[in-house]
């Protein structure tokens, strides 16, 4: 105990040390109770906010982008974000990180506290938001103050104000901002072009391992998938990439909601009463106005069941109020509202999935020392599908969204996880989405393991799960006012309540929806392969026969090729009509499987029968079909 006291005190400064040491020696059992400033607490326990050694830069990028997006979406502004991460001093591991957005900015008098004082936030409301705790930006400020002598540079322009510039540092001991310098900026010095915006630039001491660097790249590109309405420019020492805006549609912003009575506790109840302090409202009125799904009658019923006398709301003591809380816990209410949540939505996620950016680091130019090493490539899938579930998990309204992008430019399997539109990159193994993928069998698609492995035998995967052989990207987005994270680092979601059940039903829904398409794709691949093999091997066969016996080799060759084509197309029960629309007539003449065409139509219908919650979008299928057709013609020659 003694030594603990001593170390704690040592940090306080040398002045006190002497006296305390003497004190400790005299009275060894006496413990001093200190109050720690929030800033000091968070700096000492930075892991709570995810700021641990390796991940400092990753977390900084994350917090800055999230703040910027929140700040734009709150006023329905199409975001334009410019993020920069550059090495300042390699010898001392100093990095400059800056982020500029066109969001609503922060009123100038609030800037210092909003940037530097921990637990000061405009986000302390029951609402779905990216950031929640008012810690991220403060963490960057505190780390910058702790590790460097550089001030935090901030430009802010909020509505009807002119642009302000600040040099800030944090007084870690008191959780108060220190404004070193402040001025209004105009014209040439101006950093913010639009009507409002915010820019912050900090110097941080951090190491950047290649793994973390890749995580940062992943983070930015995955953010662009679920925010395709944002322009995000990302600049590093390796080059600059821009993720373009692919849609102007923005999701409806989330709204603040009243708490559900199930979540009522003494604190929320007292706070509600306090809110109505001067309005002479009855307890009944306060209850029905402060909680959702609480009608006037319901409120009355609860007060009666709690056995409380009627008196002014502020006159109830805690012993009486706890009875109200207890009754609420045992009363049936309607499920909580979900309309205040802001899912990504089918339109936006589909745009994101069909124009998925992936950052490419060009090794060759990296060696030649050129600057343009980074580039972004759009992966265009052959088809995408979307499905969602609105549900209540542990009394929290929750929306599960799931998307699948298959084929096309997509090279291999990958799982994407998002929570309240934030990409989750770490701890994939322990995430509920992982479990969902292993528990939903691919046989739901009507595709056999053998078939998949044959067609994708070149795919290298450590897993033996069939789905991981497919060129498929699976996206999960969970949005809720409270995401059940597994750890404080907010990197993986726990399998809480029925969450997993809903996710599974979403995924199997999608598997069903895309199965016909994937089966077609597999079939196409297989047929393409077969036609190629016929083309290459028939000459060998013809040659062997015509050398051995007297036969018209030309006639034989043509006959064999026709036979092969017929064989392949006859096998394509599901897609024959689509692939060879012009050969229908021909096929009918020599068709031994006439009902295949009927099957076709049936399948078409099935595809159109999607319910509103999920659907499949096909992309670029035409080119693929053209290719096959072309191939077909070559074989005919």
């Amino acid at each position: 105990m003694t030594s603990k006291v001593t170390t704690e005190v040592l940090e306080k400064g040398t002045k006190q040390v002497k006296t305390i040491l003497q004190l400790a020696q005299k009275q060894k059992t006496k413990i001093r109770y200190d109050k720690k400033a929030e800033s000091e607490f968070f700096v000492d326990n930075s892991a709570l906010a995810g700021f641990t050694g390796e991940r400092i830069l990753y977390m900084s990028v994350r917090e800055l982008i999230e703040n910027s997006l929140d700040s734009c979406e709150i006023n329905h502004i199409l975001p334009v974000i410019h993020l920069r991460l550059k090495l300042l001093d390699g010898l001392n591991d100093l990095w400059t990180i800056s982020c500029k957005d066109n969001g609503i900015g922060i009123p100038s008098e609030k800037v210092p506290v909003a940037v530097c004082s921990f637990l000061t936030s405009g986000k302390y409301v029951e609402k779905q938001q990216r950031g929640l705790f008012g810690v991220g930006l403060k963490m960057i400020a505190a780390f910058s103050t702790k590790d460097t002598d550089h001030p935090l540079r901030v430009w802010s322009k909020s509505e009807e104000e002119s642009e302000c510039y600040f040099d800030l540092r944090t007084d870690i001991g008191t959780n108060k901002p220190i404004t070193l310098f402040k001025k209004n900026v105009k014209n040439v010095e101006s950093q913010i072009e639009g009507e409002s915006g915010f820019k912050v630039e900090a110097v941080l001491r951090a190491k950047l391992s290649p793994i973390t660097k890749n995580k940062i790249y992943d983070y930015v590109s995955q953010t662009s998938i679920v925010n395709p309405y944002a322009i995000i420019t990302f600049e590093t020492d390796e080059g600059k990439v821009t993720f373009k805006r692919r849609t102007e549609i923005m999701p409806n912003p989330s709204r603040e909601v009243l708490p559900h009575p199930y979540d009522m506790d003494l604190k929320t109840l007292k706070k509600a009463i306090l809110n109505f302090m001067n309005q002479k409202t009855t307890l009944q009125g306060i209850l029905s106005n402060s909680f959702q799904k609480m009608s006037n009658d319901k409120a009355k019923e609860i007060i009666t069941r709690a056995g409380l006398p009627i008196k002014p709301a502020d006159k109830y003591d805690e012993h009486e109020l706890i009875k109200v809380v207890n009754v609420c816990k045992h009363t049936k209410f309607q499920s909580p509202n979900t309309d205040h949540l802001s899912p990504i939505g089918e339109k936006i996620l589909t745009v994101g999935m069909t124009s998925e950016y992936s950052i490419i680091l060009n090794k060759e130019t990296a060696n030649s020392g050129s600057q343009a090493q980074l580039s972004a490539k759009i992966l265009k899938p052959a088809l995408t599908a979307y499905s969602s579930r609105i549900c209540v998990v542990n009394n929290r309204p929750t929306i599960v969204e799931c998307g699948i992008a298959y084929g096309g430019d997509i090279p291999s399997f990958k799982l994407f996880r998002f929570a309240n539109k934030i990409p989750l990159l770490y701890d994939e193994g322990s995430d509920v989405a992982r479990e969902v993928i292993s528990e939903v069998g691919i046989n739901k698609m009507g595709i056999s393991k053998k078939e998949v492995k044959e067609q994708f035998s070149h795919v290298e995967t450590k897993s033996d799960r069939t789905v991981e052989y497919l060129p498929i990207h699976i996206f999960f987005h969970i949005c809720s006012t409270k995401i059940p994270y597994k750890t404080a680092g907010k990197e993986s979601i726990a399998s809480e309540g029925d969450l997993k059940k809903y996710m599974k039903s979403c995924l199997s829904d999608l598997y069903r929806k895309v199965s016909a398409q994937i089966r077609r794709e597999l079939k196409l691949k297989e047929d393409e392969n077969k036609l190629r093999l016929y083309k290459h091997y028939i000459p060998f066969i013809i040659n062997a026969i015509s050398e051995s016996i007297k036969i018209d080799s030309k006639k034989l060759s043509i006959a064999f090729q026709n036979l092969a084509e017929r064989y392949v197309s006859g096998e394509l029960t599901n897609i024959a009509k689509q692939i060879f629309p012009d050969s229908n007539q021909k096929r009918n003449q020599m068709n031994d499987k006439k009902n295949t065409i009927n099957n076709d139509n049936e399948n078409e219908l099935n595809l159109n029968k999607f319910d509103t919650r999920s659907s499949v979008s096909k992309h670029g299928n035409k080119t693929k079909l053209d290719k096959i057709k072309k191939h077909h013609k070559i074989t005919k020659k």
Binding site: E526, Y537, F540, I541, A544, I545, I551, A559, F560, Y567
Partner: protein, 368 residues
């Protein structure tokens, strides 16, 4: 240009018939051609009590150009059949490696180019398929392997009319057993019995010791896995020339496997057992029990590998190895996990094998 040899004409006619059927399927019937071939392998290998050997069952496989996997195989079979026909028309002979080279080719265009054969194993399989399709062993269509079997002793062979006396007085060399068996004839056999050993090194030792002269024996080896000519030679000596045959191999699962090749046949050649297997031969050694009976010094014993153990366990499961004697031997091996080569007897002196062990064993079996 038909071959003069009547047998060769027959074979070529069979090949032409196959080609004709394929051509008719395509041109006249308009159906996917298909070749029906007896299935080769464990699941189509049947023990015949009557013949006392492994024979092929009646399962077949259809090879037609109807799947991505079978299109190349089908083409390979036909190309090989045509190559064999050419070989016979030209009255030439070839090794299996020669056939591989004769049919080498590339397939596909620049983008998707690959080899017609991925290796000689592929072309060997194709040759086997033609054997099965025509029901003619490849030796009869002049496709042979490199000779590796060796023979020494009082026997005279005729190879294409040239007489070869294998009773070489010098004790210094053995005669290779020719693989072109159509040209091979046994002219004279003066020996009392035939002794087959697994390896040529052991054969050399025994020959040098004067064993042949002392016991009036023919020494034979397949130099490991015996080729077909060696197996057929053993069978002929036993069944046509009525000479008892004894077999000695190393005391390990591989050795036992090789010894049994002569006596009961093999799964991969079960279709040809009638020509290759000598059911009356006796496997005399080296038994696993001999390691302990002859008290082979520890240093000359080898530890069994996992592969050895797996193989022994596999053998124990085969329905045709349920004989008590083999079970006991295999159990002994699995228990002690020790194996031993015939060469281990050299530890007791260079002549011990030929002067003591082998005569002991032969006497026990009543051969001498």
């Amino acid at each position: 240009m038909a071959p003069k040899d009547r047998r060769h004409q027959e074979i070529n006619n069979k090949i032409r018939k196959i080609m004709k059927n394929v051509g008719d399927d395509i041109l006249i019937k308009g159906i996917m051609p298909s070749l029906e071939i007896p299935k080769v392998g464990y699941d189509n290998t049947v023990w015949s009590d009557e013949k006392r050997m492994l024979t092929i069952g009646n399962k077949t496989v259809q090879i037609g150009p109807n799947s991505s996997k079978k299109i190349p195989t089908f083409a390979q079979y036909l190309v090989m059949a045509n190559a064999i026909r050419k070989l016979l028309d030209e009255e030439m002979e070839s090794t299996i490696r020669g056939m591989y080279y004769a049919t080498l080719s590339t397939v596909g265009d620049e983008k998707n180019q690959q080899k017609f054969w991925s290796g000689q194993d592929d072309s060997d399989d194709a040759i086997k398929a033609i054997e099965l399709l025509t029901n003619v062993p490849r030796e009869e269509f002049s496709v042979t392997s490199k000779p590796k079997g060796m023979i020494s002793g009082p026997i005279t062979l005729s190879v294409g009319g040239d007489l070869i006396d294998c009773n070489l007085g010098s004790r210094a060399t053995s005669q290779l057993i020719p693989t072109n068996i159509r040209d091979l004839e046994i002219v004279k056999v003066k020996a009392d019995f035939v002794m087959v050993v697994e390896k040529d090194t052991v054969l050399n030792n025994i020959r040098k010791s004067g064993f042949i002269q002392k016991y009036n024996a023919i020494l034979l080896t397949g130099s490991g896995e015996p080729d077909r000519a060696t197996r057929m030679m053993v069978k002929m000596l036993n069944e046509k020339w009525k000479k008892p045959v004894v077999i000695f191999a190393d005391a390990d699962p591989w050795g036992l496997g090789i010894a049994l090749r002569y006596k009961i046949g093999s799964e991969s050649l079960s279709y040809d057992s009638d020509r290759l297997v000598t059911p009356n031969s006796k496997v005399l050694g080296m038994m696993f029990s001999d390691i302990y009976e002859y008290n082979i010094p520890k240093v000359a014993r080898l530890a069994a590998t996992q592969e050895d153990l797996n193989r022994a366990n596999d053998m124990k499961k085969k329905p045709w190895l349920q004989d008590k004697r083999w079970k006991k031997e295999l159990d002994l091996f699995l228990k002690n996990k020790e194996k031993c080569e015939l060469d281990a007897f050299f530890k007791y002196g260079f002549k011990y094998l030929a002067d003591t062990y082998l005569p002991n064993k032969l006497r026990e079996a009543g051969v001498i």
